[in-house]
């Protein structure tokens, strides 16, 4: 038992912070905001610099082109980036690229990986459907075998970034006769292929996501991830080290710090109010409880152990604390906290307001918290099924 952070982790954090300090400009933030996470020119050069540091793949196994570094470095990277609200890898980097590297054919690796690294190729994830959400394996988008490839038809929802992406990573039912988990394949679909329609869906937090329609879209055989009908394990697969930072503490801690900074400058009297101070003290307790679960989960994963309940606990705690902390901080700030993004009077461009409105996504997304609680009960506590 030793709760001290070793120097090598702390100096890595310092190194990441120095890099952030260099790149964190108002122009970059403005570009990211305007493009909702899709890379523009500044974001692209930022990602190139990040790539040059080797941090995007430092924890990948060596046989996949990584350095095989201790996954706790990934944890430190995620926490540090999240604190400063900097992007550090979207699903293209964290999910698609490693899956292609691990499961793809040589042809697929050559065709897609270099473009991903250069920031020229971005993928949207086509998993959820109107009738397949939490029960993802119930998906109905189907592929029909035709000469030289597959004819795809169906509908996906929450295909975020689709309009800004070159490809869609599409979960498709390629064997309608097989059991529901056994008949699914992953297809790489060109967003510009004939028959692909992308329709924007505006969400209440201000972000736009997309639904995508597939009307007899032709996908060549070479763009099907092998093995055919073996897509479910690929969908469920996540690189071990990517799960260390699944529920960071730092972005929540940052919300706290931003509010304190704001009050110190604009309303120092409020900060002296004992009731406000008591509420802040409570938030510090809550933040620490979440920090405990997040670190616990990271340490287990970094050791290569598999304890799904620990990941579930970190996921539930982070997502539920997010709405609690943003609500409380907004209450302390007052009416100004309700101003939307784009209103120049808002605090930190309404980041906390946006965080509040987007908090439901984290509770139901990525495996609903109800499913996570059942995982804890059955797999960790040993409660009867």
């Amino acid at each position: 038992m030793d709760f001290c952070w070793p120097d090598e982790y702390l100096s890595f954090r310092d190194e990441v912070e120095a890099f952030i300090d260099e790149w964190r400009t108002p122009e970059l933030s403005a570009e990211m905001r305007e493009r909702e996470g899709a890379p523009g020119p500044l974001t692209r050069s930022y990602f190139e610099a990040l790539q040059a540091k080797g941090w995007m793949s430092m924890c990948w196994p060596e046989e996949m082109g990584g350095e095989g570094r201790d996954p706790m470095y990934q944890f430190i990277l995620v926490e540090t980036m999240e604190y400063w609200r900097m992007p550090y890898g979207n699903l293209t980097f964290t999910s698609v690229a490693p899956s292609i590297a691990q499961f793809g054919t040589d042809h697929q690796k050559e065709k897609y990986l270099p473009g991903i690294w250069k920031g020229e190729r971005t993928f949207a994830i086509g998993y959820s459907e109107p009738n397949a959400g939490t029960d993802l394996a119930a998906l109905r988008t189907k592929g029909e075998k035709v000469d030289g490839g597959w004819k795809v038809s169906g509908q996906k929802i929450w295909t975020s970034l689709a309009a800004h992406s070159t490809n869609i990573w599409l979960a498709t039912r390629t064997d309608p006769e097989a059991k529901k988990h056994a008949g699914i394949s992953v297809l790489i679909v060109d967003t510009h292929a004939p028959g692909v329609t992308i329709r924007p869906l505006k969400t209440m937090s201000g972000l736009t996501t997309y639904e995508t329609f597939y009307d007899d879209v032709f996908v060549p055989d070479e763009d099907v991830l092998p093995p055919l009908n073996g897509g479910w394990p690929i969908i469920m697969h996540a690189l071990n080290h990517e799960r260390v930072g699944l529920s960071p503490t730092s972005n929540l801690a940052r919300n706290y710090d931003v509010v304190l900074e704001h009050l110190r400058e604009s309303d120092p009297e409020k900060l002296q109010d004992p009731i406000v101070r008591n509420r802040l003290a409570e938030l510090r307790v809550d933040l620490n409880r979440h920090r405990a679960l997040a670190i616990r989960n990271a340490v287990t994963i970094a050791r290569g152990e598999i304890k799904p309940a620990e990941a579930s606990m970190a996921k539930i705690s982070g997502s539920e604390l997010r709405y609690r902390i943003t609500t409380l901080l907004m209450d302390i700030l007052g009416r100004k906290a309700g101003l939307e993004r784009g209103d120049e009077r808002s605090i930190e461009d309404a980041y906390i307001q946006g965080n509040y409105l987007s908090s439901p996504i984290l509770r139901f997304g990525g495996g609903t918290n109800e499913v996570q609680r059942s995982i804890i009960a059955m797999r960790h506590l040993g409660m009867t099924r």
Binding site: D2, Y83, A281, A292, R296, T384
Partner: protein, 361 residues
């Protein structure tokens, strides 16, 4: 960063747990509760095992271990609801060993043997850790009144905070001194507790004011480990009970509503487990402040009512009957949540730190 016990620590934990399971049947705990008297047989047994000095220097016959090991010891005793002053004696002894002005080896040696028992006497009638009206005069006579003193009559010595000619400090007073009298209190935890009056009792100064603060920090950390023990057992008992109790043709544990309550209890237990041992390890290595101790004590003191009350919800009427062991952890947990600073007092303590950046690593 390693939040898990070492092999030696695990061995200590399992040895103590096994010993207590064999030596302390819950019915014996009920007897001691009834009498509101310490389990002297258990105390002697633990002295023989060498556990009373686990975190004391080897020079006084101790085990030379740190606060984490002291935490494991009180954690396990709390899991058995044992009626012994584990936190009180551990905290006093560690402060005497590490913060006393002179050499206390004689007293500590006798404490490790189980012959001497030292308990702190800090709080006064106003229930405020800042207040110290007890005083020691030029002829070393201590006068004053201390409230909520745990195990005052089982103790051979009291470690009393008072103001003397050299300012605030800790004083050793012998329980047998004619000037010491105790008026028993009937507390929620059903453990021995009293108001103790000192009327010109002979006192020996052992440490200064900073030792009072150190005592409070260590006692908060160890009490948090006790509360963690209560939380853990309440959860384990709930899982066990709901797995066998059948209603509507299936075990209660198979109902999602029941599972989700248990998952919440589990999250409280696991997050506090990390925080409690992190605090003990950090205090041991000079990395923790009084704020950290207050924060963890606030956290466990908030969690224990939640966890035990959920346990009762899932046990139904069974959990209220004293033939069932669940109530031990409910009453002890709440008593300990009030001891050494309630959640509110501890939040109050960290309020002066809220301006510093929030911690995320």
């Amino acid at each position: 960063m390693n939040p898990d016990f070492t092999e030696t620590q695990t061995l200590l934990q399992t040895t103590i747990r096994k010993y207590l399971e064999e030596e302390v049947p819950f019915d014996r705990v009920r007897e001691h509760e009834e009498k509101r008297a310490a389990d002297t047989k258990l105390w002697d047994g633990m002295a023989n095992q060498g556990w009373l000095g686990v975190s004391l220097p080897e020079a006084v016959g101790g085990g030379g271990a740190g606060l984490v090991e002291a935490g494991i010891f009180v954690h396990e005793l709390a899991r058995r609801a044992a009626v012994v002053p584990a936190v009180e004696v551990m905290a006093s002894a560690i402060v005497l060993a590490r913060h006393s002005d002179g050499d206390e080896s004689e007293l500590l040696d006798s404490l490790v043997q189980g012959n001497s028992v030292v308990v702190p006497a800090i709080l006064e009638a106003d229930d405020d850790f800042e207040t110290n009206t007890a005083s020691v005069n030029a002829t070393s006579k201590l006068s004053g009144e201390k409230h909520f003193v745990d195990y005052p009559d089982f103790a051979t010595h009291h470690l009393v905070s008072a103001n003397g000619t050299e300012g605030l400090g800790l004083y050793i007073v012998e329980r047998s001194d004619a000037g010491v009298s105790a008026e028993p209190l009937q507390n929620t935890g059903r453990t021995p507790q009293a108001i103790v009056r000192y009327a010109s009792a002979s006192a020996r100064r052992v440490a200064g004011g900073e030792a009072v603060a150190a005592l409070i920090d260590i006692a908060r950390a160890l009490t948090s480990a006790q509360i963690l023990g209560c939380m853990e057992v309440a959860l384990e008992m709930t899982v066990e009970y709901t797995n066998v109790r059948v209603q509507f043709g299936q075990p209660l544990a198979a109902f999602q509503a029941v599972q989700h309550h248990a998952a919440d209890m589990c999250m409280h237990t696991e997050s506090n487990r990390f925080l409690v041992y992190e605090l003990l390890d950090n205090l041991e290595n000079g990395r923790a402040s009084s704020h950290d101790a207050a924060l963890v004590k606030a956290s466990v003191s908030r969690s224990i009512p939640f966890v035990t009350m959920q346990a009762h919800q899932l046990h139904g009427g069974q959990g209220l009957i004293e033939e069932n062991d669940l109530y031990f952890f409910t009453i002890r947990g709440k008593d300990r949540a009030l001891a050494w600073g309630t959640a509110e007092e501890c939040l109050d303590r960290i309020m002066d730190e809220v301006d510093s950046p929030a911690r995320w690593l």
